[in-house]
Amino acid sequence: MIKCKTSKEIGGMGHSKKRKEDARFIQGKGNYVDDVKLPGMLYMDIVRSPYAYAKIKSIDATAALAIPGVVAVVTGKDLEKYGLHWMPTLMSDTQMVLPTDTVMYQAQEVAAVIATSRYLARDGKEAVMVDYEPMKPVMDPFKALDEDAPVLRSDQEGKTDNHIWHWEVGDKEKTANVFDNADVVVKQQMHIPRIHVASIETCGCVASYDKVTNHLTMYMTTQAPHAIRTVIALVAGHVGLTEEKIRVISPDIGGGFGGKVPVYPGYVIAIAVSFLTGAPIKWIEDRSENLQADSFARDYHITAEMAGTKDGKIQATRFKVLADHGYTDASANPSKFPTGLFSIGTGSYDYGAAYMEADAVYTNKPPGGVAYRCSFRVTEAVHAIERMTDMFAKKVGKDPAQLRMENFIKKEDFPWASPTGWSYDSGDYHAGLQKAMDAIDYHGLRKEQIEMRAEGKFLGIGISTFTEVVGAGPSQDFDILGIKMFDSAEIRVHPTGKAIARFGTKSQGQGHETTYAQIIAEELGIPMEHIQIEEGDTDTAPYGLGTYASRSTPTAGAAAAMAARKLRDKAKKIAAHLLEVSEQDLEWEPGKFFVKGAPEKSKTIQEIVFAAYTNHPEGMEGGFEATHYYDPPNLTFPSGAYICVVEVDAETCDIKVRRFVAIDDCGNIINPMIVQGQVHGGLTQGIAPAMYEELIYDDSGNILNGTFMDYLVPTAVESPSWETGHTVTPAPHHPIGAKGVGESPTVGAPPAIVNAIVDAVAHLGIKHLEIPVTPFKLFKELQNVGYFKKTT
């Protein structure tokens, strides 16, 4: 049970408060970007390339412009006149807004059609004739590094190959040494495939430039409105759109998951067209465009190795990554972390030698590398370490649960210095795994597995015990385009003791309107019902870097607590003044200050706030407001122990998840209901890449599954009934001891599922399976080990 310090009425931390934001969503009154309708608004549709790599010989818009209602057709050449045809990516690479001569991936934006209705814009798009000269694309990231591979980014001066960057961490020699002398080494090549966030709302915007006031209002699907405003100012400042003239409004967002962090060309084109025409421009992607052109996630090819003793002590790991970034590095990582926080990949285990390196390459695929519900490449790292741990257990003949128990970092060893440079803040890995094992009856399952095998039936049990790293981040290390990754909160309490608080983050379903209110309620004792939360409007909210990478609670949540504490300090002074005692004589209980030893002498927070406006002590500033920019001293390290049970049909290879128990430790819990909801959702987003989803391209650069017909987002039928629970190990350095949870399940679930499937068929000789593990893939692997016979 979670202990609460506040009453249910106040609704501080630990209460499963129902969400405040629900009211509008359940009544169809959400305000998503496609709901924004402005007078005189025009619609934009985008002509996209059918080829992955081609020269544009000509663009003929005559037929399109002949359609009544089609207002304009904009090409890269048009934007070039204003220097708006290129833009920077968040990783200091560059990306075309619209091409002037070459297209670099299928579905790339080629021209934009502006019309008086959505339908006419579409007709116009069909009528634009583009003459291409197709070239042979580079699709295989390994071949991209071949000597004779065409240099894709010839726009970059002096570029002679397709290599983007090299990165490494850890002690290479020491690690090599351990490997050379180890009893046991396991090694596996694995691909964490390209996937898509596929939020149910696609991306879009309404760009509205007012020529009279020289102001741009940009309604857009963004998780990071402030950062976007800065980026727009950087891109368009030279044409007069400086930062104070830009207002970014992120209305309700229909799911983000990292996919709504980058700046897509469509946004910039809409701004440019609005700037030139003075009309509001609406652009809303189709699902297919969203899947085919917007930022992908993952796409890491990893060679993973683990070394250890024959009795099962892990001694070292070594990962080598080839990162396929598509045609430009449009990741959304902190600047100094080209591989994000991949170096968390030493996992939850106590050993001292690790070395990781990565190389990134350009290919003719869409750009990206977004942190899809993942704190920047943690998913890839966790997959590698958790697969290797299982392979190692198998090799030394140990039960994978037992082996993990024997290798875990011990509770008392925190803070723990990882061989790749992290300082893990806290954790109790043994307790988590034990709880998961008890909940699922691990030993009973192992018995059942043996019995089922005897009948020719396949049951598999898979474990993943991961450590996440979230809450980017401390300003000495973390910035995006130079902007430090702190986050902010501003609280204003009105004379009657009700409050409004504004944040630089942006909820996309995480329930900030409820959880932030609970944090403030916890600190100030004002009932959470009376604390209104606002985010997503750069004109009103304090600057912050947005919501992704599970950073909202660790950063903005902390900012809320710190701002509230500033107010509580002020409240104490006012209370002392009102009660005519000294501050030292006062004690706080949620909602009031009282005199030590005389609890009947007290002032409620409401009385105190009223006094702040009506009767504050001399020399004190009036009002009751505070702002805080929180710069975290460290990241937080949530962890989890997940166990998955699968049944595999021995004939059809159908895979069914029978049970899945997820025990998370995200430190102190603000709202258990919301945390659980986040875990459920993340788990379904974990089963997705493990068993269903992958963006597939052929050698000619065509995407083969660019619609929801073939990009297989799980339904309620594929998604099992999740069982969740928690252990609570607070983050010692965090004001409210919270760690952030939104992404743990997406990160932790895939290896648990794959480990279970491998376990189900391990007795047939299967050692590893690449995700997504589909029945078809499993069939082929079972053919390879001779279980099914090959007929051709």
Partner: protein
Amino acid sequence: MTKKITLKINGAEHTMEVEPRMLLIHAIRENASLTGSHIGCDTSSCGACTVLIDGKSAKSCTILAVQAQGKEIATVEGLATAEGLHPIQEGFHLNHALHCGFCTPGLMMRAVELLEKNPNPTEDEIRWGISGNLCRCTGYNNIVSAIQWTSAKMQGKELPSTEPKFV
């Protein structure tokens, strides 16, 4: 080429001039300005656009506005009445069955028909019954609970707890 049609949405008549190709979802969202129903795909796969047509749940992105002439259309905006929220709305709220809320109107409309036909569905029937609606946020557990809760509520049965259950 346009046709004049009258759509009866949530009891109110909306007369509009539309091209035959106008999809019902666009007529509802843009011509009738009821933006509660959403668009999540272009292949009839996601169910975000689900409304009821003469009581039957329908993907309004796969139906022409002209086809709905004269039919009773119900959208999320029509669920609540003067007496208060519809039980399915309560069920979704109390069971935390929505995160971003984008899929929610479609799911609730689908659930209304499901419960109309099968007042007491099993978990399996619920899961199959909402298989035409994608939700990327919730993992479906709580949507299932919400529909079970609503089922109990609509039948005047004892209401299941809406507190989260942990192992």
